[in-house]
Symmetry: C2
Subunit: 348 residues, 2 copies
């Protein structure tokens, strides 16, 4: 059997991280990469990754997906370019019309129907017409604040409320994340940027909450509500890519709620900041389910976002290839798992 | 659409608990119950459960499955009679030959091919011939020491080792469990009973370990090894159904290992006892994954075994009905989840 053939669209931190992971795995090969960054175009992925090519096929980074898809057959494309459904849509459409499965890192694609039911229907129908599958996944949304809570409810006779809390550190991240999350800016700038849409904070509460409520059969009274507040540092904080003066923004605290029958039954709490331990904050993932039984889960420290997203996307490749055609979600497919053997052994 | 029709075979603590849970759910009805206990035969399930029948169909407990299957059509049977594959086999065969899906509580059925690959093949082929699905599940094996660990590896690029530790209390359980686990007996009797096979301790390490290793693609060097040791109490302990003198057995400590490439990479630790807090033992479920990243999960207190098994079996009903035919396992199906809406909404 031939190796599983993978295209990577977008060779930033996520796409290049997935490439590194794939190069360590058996039974899979990268057959094409594209990225709009001119400093990478026409270079070997091995040069960009600083990994020896030894024995592996050369892969030259192209500017456009058309240069890859016309030249190579692939089983799946990892689309690592966007956060929003509307931005990812045309790219997904192009890939699936070429009869290639897709895994997207776009947070909103984890549960596209939460905010864009019509686009979700279109993707589903184009995917079915072309006999391929589309999945959005990642660490969050995708696992920590949705799928994992859902799995735990499997042990419950009744569920009254679900709280997912992810307290993580932004310290390992680079300049893009610092900029996106407003790390280091003044509080007044924070609110200006939230209001003008240039500071989004975490993307995914709508998707996580709708995934949970659909999974367990709760009906939301109304669209979810969320708040995005600055974490004001009372100490000086510094990382290789960010510096926060006392009184400035160390990160973003987001909270979100899903209301069912007038009650806030699904609650999300997600503070992200650099150097949280400087103010005694311990990072971790926490899920608290009130029901029969109550379940109190903690993972300390938190599962890191970067590796976690890379791993989730790569590890779901076999499930997506095996799935029936259409737009699928993490609650439709078998559970994610690490791939320590030959990936081909996992293909039906 | 008609309600989902359920048969319950075995009306002990698990079967009657599932009946109580089902009676609280929408879109599902119990259409038949059988049990060999003469004190229950020919009685109404509502009498045995001490629940008012109001508006529900009467269900009289029969002695034999033949009396139910010939009279009623059902979508699924919950088989709550056995722990071992060899004991459950003929019953499963009877049900699936009557074209009814099965969920079995038998611990070994959670991953039947771990110890009985030939029987697993037979069940798979009979189920396929009859167009129905068979699943074994429960809280453990089924979730706490296998599926949940597998889900968490989904966030890992690499896994080096997995430790699952379940520290639970036997205090809520009745006389059957006390007898099976040797609670209250003297240490010398413990070893006699382990050696003559009348004290099994926890059943399921072979199944949990093989499920994990198959899921992530590790190959076991040899069958798993396990040890069953008494937890000797240094204090007096008492519950409604058991009494343990100082120096006697408060429960069973089991450990098990799966060896891969000469290393104990999958490790199970499962002490079960009454009143653990009397000696400062805090109950909980713990999963520690060494890899990239490391993951340290804890659930405190432990998810209770009784409710957990009841919930897992009932909550998996829609997935089993929706599944393609054959013998399936928890790693083949979508994730378990609570059912808070109408069960029919979950049937494809």
């Amino acid at each position: 059997m031939e190796k599983v053939k993978v295209i990577i669209w977008g060779f930033g931190a996520m796409g290049s991280g997935m490439a590194k992971m794939l190069l360590k795995k058996q039974g899979v090969e990268i057959v094409g990469v594209c990225d709009k960054d001119t400093s990478k175009i026409n270079k070997s992925i091995f040069e960009i990754l600083n990994i020896k090519q030894t024995g592996r096929k050369e892969v030259i980074i192209k500017k456009n997906i058309e240069e890859i898809v016309t030249n190579n057959y692939a089983d799946i494309a990892l689309l690592c370019t966007d956060s929003y459904v509307k931005e990812a849509y045309e790219k997904i459409k192009y890939i699936i019309e070429n009869k290639i499965n897709v895994i997207s890192t776009a947070e909103e694609m984890v549960y596209a129907k939460a905010q864009y039911p019509e686009i979700a229907k279109q993707i589903n129908s184009i995917a079915k017409e072309n006999g391929v599958t589309v999945l959005g996944t990642g660490i969050n949304p995708g696992l920590m604040m949705d799928l994992l809570a859902i799995v735990l409810t499997g042990a419950c006779e009744e569920v009254n409320s679900i709280e997912c809390k992810r307290v993580n550190s932004l310290s390992p991240f680079g300049p893009t994340v610092m900029e996106e999350q407003g790390v280091g800016i003044r509080p007044e700038e924070f609110y200006t940027r939230v209001n003008n849409g240039s500071l989004a904070g975490h993307i995914g509460f709508s998707e996580s909450i709708k995934m949970i409520t659909d999974a367990i059969g709760w009906k939301l009274d109304k669209p979810i509500s969320q708040e995005c507040n600055p974490i004001i540092s009372s100490v000086y904080r510094k990382t290789p890519f960010a510096e926060v003066e006392e009184g400035n923004v160390a990160g973003v605290n987001m909270i979100g709620h899903g209301v069912i029958n007038g009650e806030k039954k699904v609650n999300m709490i997600h503070p992200q900041q650099i150097e949280p331990e400087l103010e005694g904050v311990n990072t971790g993932d926490y899920i608290n389910i009130k029901g029969n039984p109550n379940i109190n889960m903690s993972i300390k420290p938190e599962i890191p976002g970067g590796i976690g997203t890379i791993a989730m996307c790569v590890n779901m490749i076999p499930h997506v290839i095996n799935s029936k055609a259409g737009l699928r979600t993490m609650i439709d497919l078998p559970v994610p798992r690490a791939i320590m053997g030959d990936m081909r052994d996992l293909i039906d």
